[in-house]
Symmetry: C2
Subunit: 195 residues, 2 copies
DNA sequence: AATAGAAACGGACCGTGGTCCGTTTCGACT
DNA sequence: AGTCGAAACGGACCACGGTCCGTTTCTATT
């Protein structure tokens, strides 16, 4: 008997072979990264290592950038989980200002750690609403908890922006700042915005 | 007689044919953009239109991204000139706060206008110190004129960051802000930072 | 004007991302 | 089990960015 109301119960299901292949391809890509570097992650190499055809890789991930974004998703999901349900100061429970500062620090570290992958993912990642949207919304909520009045949506994006990889690179590179200076700077920015 | 001190007088001079070709290639690329779009600017097409070999394009600009960055340089130079020596409120002469707000608005418009080109130039442009460095330094100077105390280098980068193309795209797209809202938001950010 | 050496040129060549379409596999329903 | 339509697969194929190296062109010097 077919479900007469395939609403929320059936998130357009994925065929078994498709799921297997997606898994195999992600593992293959991870292993290739471990073996060499992100440069070595060629679509053909990934396909070969996973034992599937090249077309399958593109069918699953759309593009090389899409594949990279999928790899990033793992780290991002873990990070989001830590924000939502992990221990303080990043997770819930502590004072909002401490949470906010912990947010900045951990987000910065996440971006620096995943730098090569973020580059390889290009706009697929950087303009992904689910990613930027989560971080921005989180900051917005914390600002509200801190009693900040004003254009919270904008202020949230403005606080998240300087944590992006290109900005961090510019600060650590040409501007010659240290990690401590950048973190202190972001903290100062937050304090001024919160008022 | 050769110059015994070829220090500042000889910025490693460029051969005539090389200069001609650089010029021809830039025109060809501009025309191709006008004709179709940035996608149509193929290295081979540019070379053919300029009547040179493909290798020459790479010799001059290093890569496709480098070529795009060179195209951007024209607009950027004009903008920098307007900041340094143009009429107020963007140029010198007006009150610092008005200059700062004019800076934000014109920078935003520049990024939006050149969006396709900025994308095509990739990191070659976005992480170019001469570009980000100028904008950041300008903001830093204005903050100093406004009597702001604290970590000016960082605060300057933090004010420039939300004017970057990816952030603007996110604001205009998923976040659904209007141009007025974004400008007002940036102004509010500036006021809070200045204190 | 002749020369020599450095710099620029050109286009064949290669690797990789991305597409296309005929073939195979899955799984829902009988 | 058998059938059938939809979904996934595979790998030949294409286009474009980037490299390489033998050839040509410039310019400084005599």
């Amino acid at each position: 008997m077919s479900n007469p109301l395939p609403l929320l119960t059936t998130p357009p299901t994925e065929r078994r072979d498709a799921a297997r292949n997606r898994e195999a391809l992600l593992s293959a890509a991870s292993e290739l990264i471990r073996g060499c570097s992100v440069e070595g992650v060629t679509m053909e190499a990934v396909a070969a290592k996973a034992g599937v055809g090249k077309g399958t890789v593109f069918r699953r991930f759309g593009s090389r950038e899409g594949l990279m974004a999928s790899l990033l998703d793992h780290a991002e999901s873990e990070w989001q989980a830590a924000v939502i349900g992990g221990p303080p100061p990043l997770g819930p429970g502590g004072p909002p200002m401490e949470r906010l500062l912990a947010f900045g620090e951990s987000r910065m570290h996440l971006h620096l750690q995943q730098g090569a992958l973020i580059d390889a993912a290009g706009r697929t990642w950087g303009e992904n609403y689910a990613v930027i949207g989560f971080a921005t919304m989180h900051v917005r909520i914390l600002l509200a908890e801190l009693g900040v009045q004003g254009n919270l949506p904008y202020l949230a994006t403005a606080l998240v922006a300087p944590l992006s990889l290109p900005v961090l690179r510019q600060q650590f590179g040409p501007a010659g700042m240290t990690e401590e200076q950048v973190l202190a700077g972001w903290g100062e920015l937050v304090r001024r915005v919160v008022g």
